[in-house]
Assembly symmetry: D3
């Protein structure tokens, strides 16, 4: 099985964290390809940055999905995920969606630990879009500027643990979600240090993408995830044009 | 006052409908500029098309907002609206958001009439994001393929009226929202034919944009609509780079 | 355009604040009339006081609406608003509804700053009735008894600013709503002092009332905002009797 | 125990239905007094009529509560109930609130059968204010004009049964609420004819009012149901003035 | 009238508290029988313990309901309540459901005071199942291990009062619910000490059970509370088998 | 990896369907054990039957979990799932929870197809408990009595397909969930016949259980899924007593 993970940001150091955790998590026989957005910002904290990342992800997915069995949008907030689910003929998931699916199988209420204060509003809206706000205990974020997005884990590890403990003690969390691709793999290294189960986006997305391929649920010919109706377009990359030309499945 | 309306789609015929209704609606002294997306699709019905339209809108807004007092995202579903509200130093609104604001001042529950069946899921999610699902009576859509997006009104006028009447009689609507830029101006020509107040996105957006400018509520230096934090970026248009370089307001 | 603003309370000093801010906010050509309830209490903090204010407002509206193009219920909590929207043949809005409509066009989540602790429950229920509780970040109130309802702003200005700052820092507010007619105009004088956009009820209501008149959305002949069905009544003022005699629009 | 039931409408024929069912339902030793609004309309279907009925109820309650152990607002929609709960020193309930409390003890989802189409919007908002919309299966109403509000039951009995059967079969109702004082006592005469438990507002309110008196839960000295703070008032009836002079309990 | 109260736990000391409060609360002519679970745990704090208590309650109810007019599940969290409401031919209620019904007749928002921290998650889910989370102000619990479940009241009385005061001052509670059969009767002895009305589960359940019997709402022949369809079973107690053999009512 | 699937019902024919689909779905190296409840009913349609099935499941899980890496509650409605998640030291999931997790990765809104009308209320409450009611498009059920619970698929296959098509066309479903262990494997045989992706509970639960084991998220030492506190118990099976003796993890 071939999984394509797309980092919607330009940080190749984060892409390496993603790749490492994806490879550790993948089942035997699964191969992992990680692509980095050719345009955009270093990491997404805001709705505007997500909008840019979504388009970059769409471009890469259009170009490269044919060599994959499933696609993972490898940033929290899942920029572009719902759109790609319509357009691509293969399963797609994203880090937030996948992490929340895991969290909901482990407890009733989860908290999200994030890499900045600013990013919390964007995560909160992502959880609402997914429809799981009744299971969200809290979102807590680091409150210092990040010196280096590729090394958040080593610099901020103890602070992240302390945040998680407060989520359990004060907010009623049954599960902790470590959010953001820059934290990929941290759950693994914190194993046993937190008082509740801890979930990582990349490993969850890899496992769930593998499951979606294995379950073979079939494609959407109707409903709101069928391919977009064919209509005039202009100014798009050849790959996007090809994708839009799929049209209704018959 | 100068309003910039951006059509996130490539249809110049729809841009003309938008311009005409915007000019009819604007207060004396307001000038209206309408731009058409240089890339994208003919009209947005799906999440994937909205993702493309959002990026096109962001590009145009980055390039042209400096000559405007407020920006209107001139498609239903408001692609890119929340992101632009963070990034731009001036007020921004969108057709759905503005139409719903009007509808909520006219009755308790509203129905949305749309130009296709497919588009209903995307509108429904837009209403949920706005947080007004408890006031949504129904979304009904035309069920035939559109022959010509620039002439929906003349071709389908009677069908749209019949749909509106069912929204009132069967779904409990107090207000009708005619959704989609291709219907811009239809509310005006249906005046008196519907049994409840009817709201149009373009005229609502023009009026509310004018109000936001007049009220001078101030800018966001903090909170989730402050400008995105400055961080590395690459591969973006010069205008987007300039916009991202605004950084925190001090 | 002639706007009728009704202060549902007996405080003429508050009516003067309302008038001053309404006149500052109105478009050229709009004239403003402010009426003060002939019976009731000094200011509404509770459901019981709102019930009284609603009836006083209905009486005044019945008597005076014929000389107006739109009516504003000029107290937070909007006492009687929904009823008047059924009964009157012209647009009606209220300070809370209008302020929330503005706030929703400026950010995702808003906080309300109120003039007392007690009033918070009544505001909370008003926001729930409007259906926007998912966008409410918090309601914070002054915690000292008001010495003089007509001079809250000068006495308590700094405390109100401090409350607003906590709403942004601790509650996640993107927008601040300064609630209550006794604060009319304060947003204007605080311009630039708060870190997020700030909304005032009176100016929002004036602008939105003007928009409703300009948009000419039409009247409700059916639905739950059509005029109440004609039926026997007794003991009401002549103006209320006339209003109830409107009956279904044909 | 003395119960005071206030009909917020002017229909003495409905007051007689209320009295008859209240007397049939009351425990031994409970006496029932029924008052009819001296001003208002024949029956409440709309928000505007409810606003009038609320004020009439407040006037009567202020004047007569001292001779009672508990008060019942004897119309569906419970006009004025929350205000009176603040102002009166004794328990208060209303027909909708009490019927819903009974319904929730008998099944998970209830449907409401109402005397007209128009009244459904007002009932729906009442259920939302009570917070039980997730348990509301449907609201169905008679669709013909009422010839005589005091004789709905005999004229429309079969139609009401047919509506109830549809609520069970099509809407998933576990319990039927027969709504509106004009239907007082109908549940009793339909006993055994409906396939699910059926609840009546008057008998529920009488039983629950008796329970509130018996349970002696204590009064609110703090919180949002403490008596309204003392402040200037004018133009009110002597009884309302006395009630507003209660002030905080110490 | 004969009420059967079933303690789903094995603590006979708690059964005595239940019996004492039930007898104090019952109307003249009501007799009270209290049964104690023959298997299970000392008191329910978790979902797993509730699962055990539900089955023990079902066993006792199946065996003993024929001598009763109504059944009360006498533990907070109401283990087994909804199932028994389907299976038994007589009214059933539970301590949480009944206490919340009382609380909702006394104020808009209630807080729950519980005997431990752990139990809060289970109570929260119970309130959500009942559909009243919008009226829940908070759940606060004692934070020390219980020395003796039969003497919580005397050991912890002052702490419980302090918790209640914080619910009013900090959480906005209008009503306090003292939760858990081990607190049965405490509301009565705290009368006058709390600043808002206080509700007890046992007395509420006794009163509401009496009301359900008196109102004679009828049985469910259809809907989701009709008796379970007849089908093969095995390994159940003779009483459960008899209960399952009731089948559809015709 | 060893998975233990527990059929909470007494139908060994259904256990065989479960086993067959579990074995088809399991990854290489996973072994599957299926146990059948020694007491209970043929299949669960009601809350009362679920209560019995939950206890039977708890008994079997207590006795047999030590030989497994994860447990699956193999009935829709997931009887006992949340309790077992507290009590067992290994991951646990259930058919509904797992199917909904899959469905949410495939589309925005899902419909559930069930084996009877009656079962719909129980499923609806299960979805609400999971917190996903905003993503539930509809629940539709077969409306004829089941002749043979082990052969629903062959007898009713066409009817189930027709129901699914109506869910897509009329209810807006993006995904179909075929609910109930008696339908285990049907999704596989319908592959390609439905216009949207289709999800099966057994295969989803097997995949997600495998993922939970592989992800090694850690155990709950705190929070509401930590093992129940140790306290007196009596009358329980030795295996349940052993399970309750686990106590807090240190």
């Amino acid at each position: 099985m071939r999984l394509l993970l797309i980092n919607p940001n330009i940080s190749t150091s984060v892409s390496e964290l993603i790749r490492a955790e994806a490879e550790r998590s993948a089942a035997p026989g699964t191969t992992v390809q990680v692509l980095t957005a050719p345009f955009g910002v270093a990491y997404i904290e805001t709705r505007f940055e997500a909008l840019i990342g979504a388009y970059a992800t769409a471009q890469l997915a259009a170009e490269h999905h044919e060599a994959a069995d499933a696609v993972v949008v490898a940033a929290f907030g899942d920029p572009g995920l719902a759109g790609l689910r319509e357009a691509l003929p293969i399963p797609v998931t994203g880090l937030t969606e996948a992490a929340l699916a895991s969290a909901c199988l482990l407890g009733q209420r989860f908290s999200i630990i994030a890499i900045s204060q600013r990013i919390r509003a964007w995560y909160r809206e992502t959880v609402q879009h997914i429809g799981l706000e009744s299971r969200l205990a809290s979102i807590r974020g680091l409150d210092e500027p990040l010196a280096d997005i590729g090394h958040v884990q080593s610099n901020q590890g103890e602070r992240l643990v302390a945040l998680a403990e407060r989520c359990v003690a004060e907010d009623g969390a049954d599960v902790i979600v470590l959010a953001g691709a820059p934290l990929a793999g941290l759950a693994r290294s914190l194993r046993g240090r937190l008082p509740v189960p801890v979930v990582d986006g990349v490993s969850s997305a890899v496992r769930h993408a593998e499951s979606l391929v294995a379950l073979q649920p079939g494609s959407a010919r109707l409903g709101s995830f069928a391919p977009p109706p064919i209509k005039p377009n202009q100014g798009l990359s050849p790959a996007l044009v090809r994708l839009l030309a799929r049209g209704p499945i018959t």
